[in-house]
């Protein structure tokens, strides 16, 4: 047996003799590994951003929201009909839920459904009454100014905290004195005391994203608007009566969140009957579903990449077999000079493994490049984890071992006599 160092040097030397052939041979592995890396990067990136969004909602939360039930039996023809339409979550629901086991806290939102105008243009901003705990229960941060104080709630002060998207939608560019200025909404004026930013732009169903909200203390909202809002649909004027739009329920024990959410929905089903005027989202469940679909995605993509690696490996085996035939004289001479079968076997095996591993390294570069291109042109986030790179190296090395063993075995089995006699 040769010294390991000599064996390595010799094998590498042989490959460098045929640079173009070595490159072409390892193309299969290069693209195979490249696709593995790119696939894992895209999948990991998608997973992380989705997870971050879901996690921003909070895995210990159950979000219950009101939604307008589908119209039933209302004739569209009855013009100028004024109907009081009542639906959604009520104060009684809130009081009941808050007393349930494992429920620690309920934060509520109430959309007062007023048109927020900029000049005479209607914006998609919403004026929302919220509880004090709303900031803490969402992953939002105070960007400027401050959050409400308990006194603001107690005294029903006319102040508001705005989401960061509100600023460009209501004010001219470059205004810096937002905090302290006033917003007029219909006949009321609110002094802005702070700007908040929710990095993941968490959305609360029909109420919309947190960054698009103009928040006022719930007592202020109740004092000023009660729970009646008007809406105009075509020529119909409807009066809506909605007490709450969103409950954010925080549970004490995350392990029992499943149970708690079932109890809440059982309760709501009982009280609301057949009226489909509420919905529920459990971020933790979303998270689990998300992980499941992501895993399936990864498996499917992984198999495709795996197939390309197998194809690449077969290509390498093919060329190595031709290589063995072409180098019969070299093998015979080496054997005559005293090379063991194992020396020949290892020489060819190392050549193949070296070929696939360097193909793997090049493939990692290709994969990172593909990932970068994807990020640049489609905006999908890509994440290169260390384990995906390590995995690719191990796989490319394994491809070499798996597809190199047979050619190397063939090389070692060459009979030196026939080779030397062939001259």
């Amino acid at each position: 047996m040769m010294l390991p160092v000599d064996l390595l040097v010799m094998s590498c030397h042989n490959l460098l003799l045929h640079k173009v052939r070595s490159l072409l041979t390892s193309l299969g592995v290069i693209f195979g590994v490249g696709s593995v890396i790119a696939m894992l990067a895209v999948s990991e990136g998608a997973k992380r951003s989705a997870l971050a969004k879901i996690e921003a909602m909070g895995t210990d939360k159950i979000i219950i929201y009101s939604h307008r039930p589908p119209p039933e039996g209302k004739s569209e023809g009855s013009e100028n009909a004024s109907i009081v339409e009542q639906y959604g979550l009520t104060e009684r629901n809130r009081e009941h839920i808050i007393k349930m086991d494992n429920v620690k806290h309920v934060t509520s939102l109430f959309d007062v459904r007023k048109k927020v105008l900029r000049g005479i243009t209607r914006t998609d901003l919403k004026l929302i009454g919220c509880d004090y705990g709303f900031l803490e229960d969402t992953a939002a941060k105070v960007e400027r100014g401050r959050w409400f104080s308990p006194a603001d709630f107690e005294n029903k002060v006319s102040v508001c905290v705005i989401g960061k998207n509100v600023k460009p939608k209501l004010f001219e560019l470059g205004r810096t004195d937002i905090v302290g200025s006033q917003i007029r909404i219909e006949d009321a004026a609110y002094t802005i005391i702070g700007v908040i930013d929710n990095e993941y732009a968490t959305k609360f169903q029909e109420v919309g994203g947190q960054n698009d909200m103009i928040l006022i203390p719930m007592p202020t909202a109740r004092a000023r608007y009660q729970d009646y809002t008007y809406s105009f649909e075509g020529r119909n004027r409807n009066i809506l009566r909605i007490e709450y739009d969103v409950f954010i329920v925080r549970v004490g024990e995350v392990g029992y969140i499943d149970h708690t959410s079932k109890r809440i929905s059982a309760y709501l089903q009982k009280t609301h009957g057949t009226l489909c005027d509420w919905g529920m989202v459990v971020p933790l469940e979303l998270l689990k579903q998300m992980e499941d679909t992501q895993n399936i995605f990864t498996i499917v993509m992984g198999s495709i990449a795996g197939i390309s690696l197998v194809v690449g490996g077969i290509g390498i085996m093919n060329i190595m077999l031709a290589n063995v035939y072409e180098r019969r004289k070299e093998i015979g001479t080496r054997r005559a000079l005293g090379a063991q079968k194992s020396d020949i076997l290892l020489q060819f095996l190392i050549e193949t493994v070296f070929l696939t591993t360097s193909g793997g390294i090049a493939g990692i570069a290709v994969g990172v490049g593909i990932g970068r291109l994807i990020t640049r042109y489609s905006g999908m986030p890509t994440v290169y984890s260390l384990w995906s790179i390590a995995l690719s190296l191990v796989i490319s090395c394994l491809v070499g071992v798996i597809f190199g063993t047979y050619p190397a075995y063939k090389a070692a089995q060459q009979n030196p006599i026939t080779v030397l006699r062939a001259e």
Partner: protein, 236 residues
Amino acid sequence: MAPVVNIVELRGICKTYISGDLQVPVLKGIDAKVGAGEFVGFIGTSGSGKSTLLNILGMLDVPTGGSYLLEGVDVSCLSDSEQATIRNRKIGFIFQSFNLFPHLSVEQNIAVPMLYARVPGRVRRARSLELAKRVGLGHRLGHRPTQLSGGECQRVAIARALSNQPAFILADEPTGNLDENTSNEIMALFHELNNNGVTIVMVTHNPALAPHYDKIIRLRDGRIDDRPFEWEGGKK
């Protein structure tokens, strides 16, 4: 027991190839001895069993009968791995078409058998240089075989054969691919090595080389031909 052991001793070597039901005897009992420091020529026409004997002498093949003693040790039934080790340490191969590695330099070519003997790199380089000088190629260490003439290539092969200080050198038609002048130079080099104590076994079909040998063993139809040599050619 005599203190001097024969380097090679063949006792009734037989080799029969079996193809299907047919048995083809190629060697039919060869007895031969090569003493230390001898220059022995095995001469035979094609079909005389010369190549088969060469393979057996070179440990590339095993005889079906008889025994082969190498430095007094019976090596006729060894495993493939043991054969390789003996080829590496005890036998210096020289081929008709040199069989150099075209992508290796002269120095690296000379060092190949030492690679398989696990000789460390530093020692290999020193010894390659010494051997290259010995065959008159000290100035060509970095050259590739393609940059050398046929005679120079065979010199490299001779240096390579000597690299593990083998018991004997086994040369297969070493001058077969060379012109007459170069041939003579190479034969002169063999004589020089032989004078310095290297045992050489040469296998050839060429009777013209006969005067170079200390001892001539002629093969004919798988047996040793005992008739006097002059009978066959007698040109020189």
